[in-house]
Amino acid sequence: MPDLLLALVVAIMLIGGGVFTFLAALGIVRLPDVYTRMHAASKAGTVGSGLMLLAAGIHSLDAAIFTRALAGFVFFVLTAPVAAHLVAKAAHAAGYRLTRLTVMDDMRELRERAAKKR
């Protein structure tokens, strides 16, 4: 019986991770510009692959391997926002535009004001 319960937990985590990863990829295809695509990749993508890694850790039934999978999960959660932040900052600094749907951009206004002052 505990076997079955464990298998169910692992299966739910696997399928959940797969669904999140798939939706993140769908977001990368459907969303209109780099910045919105980054939302999909950095949130749904991280949660998807993290869930799968944790599922692998639980399935092994070994404390050492589970802690390692947990450490990997924490590492992904820590690095994904840093990577997204760096790419977004670089893209904005290089001048890649936001989509036409954008309602406001405080950053561009500030940069233009600074450029005018100079």
Binding site: L8, P32, R37, A71
Partner: protein, 120 residues
């Protein structure tokens, strides 16, 4: 027995979903109008590969695969950081326009600027 059936079924579903995700993301890498789009998609490919490795670890029972997944995550993060530095140093190329549905720049700037001013 039932437990193994459940896990192998879940593995099959997860592998199928990730195959679809992989192809969608690869399409974005090929199509992606700008360099940052491609970088984001490549970062996503790394995440998908990590998921693949985790599923393979469950299917085969080789737990060493988890270490490989962690190492891949590290390398993927460093690659994204290096790419971001590259975008910053290269700047935007003249051929690349921004988002594909981009309105003329003057029009958009005026609209967003006005909105932001109202708020302050």
């Amino acid at each position: 027995m039932a437990a193994e059936t459940i896990i192998s079924g879940a593995c099959a579903i997860a592998l199928f979903l990730m195959c679809a995700a992989f192809f969608l993301t690869a399409w974005r890498v090929i199509k992606g109008p700008t360099l940052p789009d491609r970088i984001v998609a490549l970062d996503m490919l790394t995440a998908i590969a990590i998921g693949f490795i985790a599923v393979v670890a469950i299917r085969t029972g080789f737990n060493l695969y988890i270490d490989i997944a962690i190492a891949l995550g590290l390398v993927g993060f460093l690659a994204t950081v290096a790419f971001a530095r590259f975008v910053l140093s290269r700047g935007m190329q003249p051929g690349e326009e921004g988002a594909p549905d981009e309105a003329p720049a003057g029009n958009r700037t005026r609209r967003s600027g006005g909105h932001a001013r109202r708020l302050h």
